[in-house]
Structure formats: structure tokens, C-alpha cells
């Protein structure tokens, strides 16, 4: 199961497993983000390159206007995958 939701400030909450079957619907939600936002990953259990692709595409779109995503509370396994992919240099991760 995967859920992506936005709060009133435009911050993003990811829950569950962000795999390729969720990419399209997640992209639709991320496309509603128009300014800098926190992506809370405290309930994100799994992410593959499909989910990472959504994050990169959103960061590219936002950064063109001077905005950025800030990723928070990644679990240890996801942190390791992000490290392999060199994503610490692209995203603000706290």
C-alpha cells in the first residue's frame, strides 16, 4: 500500500511502498506542489528508482523557480539507496 498526501502548507507525506505501480498517481500529486516543501518520509517503507524519479522530476521543476524539496526522516535502508544514487548532493536530507 502507498499513500501520498499534502497538508494545507503544501508539505508532502509519504506512507508505505513507493514502487513503479504508484509512479503515475504519485506524480499527479507531486505536480500540485508549487513551492518549497518538506517531504516527510517517516512512514515510507520502500522506494525504488520509479519513486526516486518522481522526486528528481519534482525537484528539477521546483528548482527552476528557486524552490526545493527537503526530505525528512528517511529510514536506514532508504538512506543507503539514496547514498548509492548520490542523492544527498541533490536533495536537502534531514
Amino acid at each position: 500500500m502507498f499513500q501520498v498526501s499534502l497538508d494545507q502548507e503544501g508539505n508532502i507525506f509519504l506512507t508505505g511502498r513507493f514502487d513503479a505501480s504508484q509512479q503515475q498517481s504519485a506524480m499527479e500529486t507531486f505536480n500540485r506542489v508549487i513551492k518549497s516543501a518538506i517531504v516527510d518520509c517517516s512512514k515510507l517503507e520502500y522506494i525504488s528508482s520509479a519513486g526516486i524519479g518522481v522526486l528528481i522530476a519534482t525537484e528539477k521543476r521546483l528548482s527552476a523557480g528557486g524552490h526545493h524539496l527537503q526530505l525528512k526522516n528517511l529510514n536506514a535502508h532508504i538512506t543507503e539507496i539514496f547514498r548509492y544514487a548520490g542523492l544527498e548532493a541533490i536533495f536537502s536530507i534531514t
Binding site: 520502500y46 528508482s49 528528481i56 541533490i90
Partner: protein, 138 residues
């Protein structure tokens, strides 16, 4: 464990259920289970996207001694080695980042060996990972 899965991204849920059974059977840790799921998802989705077959895709997972072996087979397809993606530079800046190839780049990171074989119109991708010796007895 071996099972056939429909050629669809929607098969991922069933694939993850199979991996979870495997994880429980061998008492695998969460890190290893994550890496198995990631490797299978990335290869399976590439087979679905880039191969031209219509058959179901076979997935086999086994552990013999300290070797975890994952085999994905795609039947009646043309010869196309998906295990050789375009190069990915993990140091690239955001504007230079391409999503294509990242999944298979990660597969090579989490697996010790990734091999492609093509014979009789069957594409076989074999991934091997060395695991802890405490699993030898299972």
C-alpha cells in the same frame, strides 16, 4: 520458490508477497529483503517495458549455502540485454540527472553479480548476492 507473474507493473504487489514469504522462511533481515525487492522490481519493470513478449514472466528465488540467487526469465522475446543500462553518474548535478538507467545502476549496487543469457528466445537474468553464513543451515 518459483512463480509466474503476468507481464504488468501491477504484478509487483504479488511479487512482493512472494518475497515476503521467502524473507520469513529464511529469516532474512530487512536490509537484505529490501535489496531483493529492489533488484526484482527494477529488472521486472524493465522486462515489462522493453521486451516484446506476451508470456508471463518467471521469478525464482533460492538460497544455497551463502548464495542467494534470483532468476527472472522472459519467454519468446528478442535478444535485448537490459542489464547493461546507459551509464549513470551518481555525482551528476540535478540538471544533468536522467532517470533512465538508475534502477539497473542500483541493482548492480545491491547485488554481487548480475548476468544476462539469451537462448532459444528466452531471456534469463540471474542475480547473485552473498549473504551471511548464519543462513547456511536453513
Amino acid at each position: 520458490m518459483q512463480q509466474l507473474f503476468p507481464r504488468s507493473i501491477q504484478s509487483l504487489d504479488s511479487i512482493f508477497e512472494l518475497v515476503d514469504q521467502f524473507r520469513i522462511q529464511y529469516d532474512l533481515d530487512q536490509k537484505t529483503a529490501y535489496e531483493i525487492e529492489l533488484a526484482i522490481e527494477e529488472v521486472f519493470t524493465n522486462l515489462v517495458k522493453y521486451n516484446d513478449g506476451t508470456s508471463q514472466i518467471s521469478l525464482q528465488i533460492e538460497i544455497i549455502n551463502t548464495r542467494l540467487t534470483i532468476v527472472l526469465q522472459d519467454f519468446d522475446v528478442d535478444d535485448f540485454d537490459i542489464t547493461r543500462p546507459p551509464p549513470v553518474d551518481p555525482q551528476a548535478r540535478l540538471e544533468e540527472r536522467r532517470v533512465g538507467g538508475l534502477g539497473l545502476f542500483l541493482v548492480h549496487k545491491v547485488m554481487d553479480q548480475v548476468e544476462y543469457q539469451y537462448q532459444n528466445r528466452v531471456s534469463t537474468i540471474t542475480m547473485i548476492k552473498k549473504i551471511g553464513e548464519d543462513l547456511c543451515s536453513k
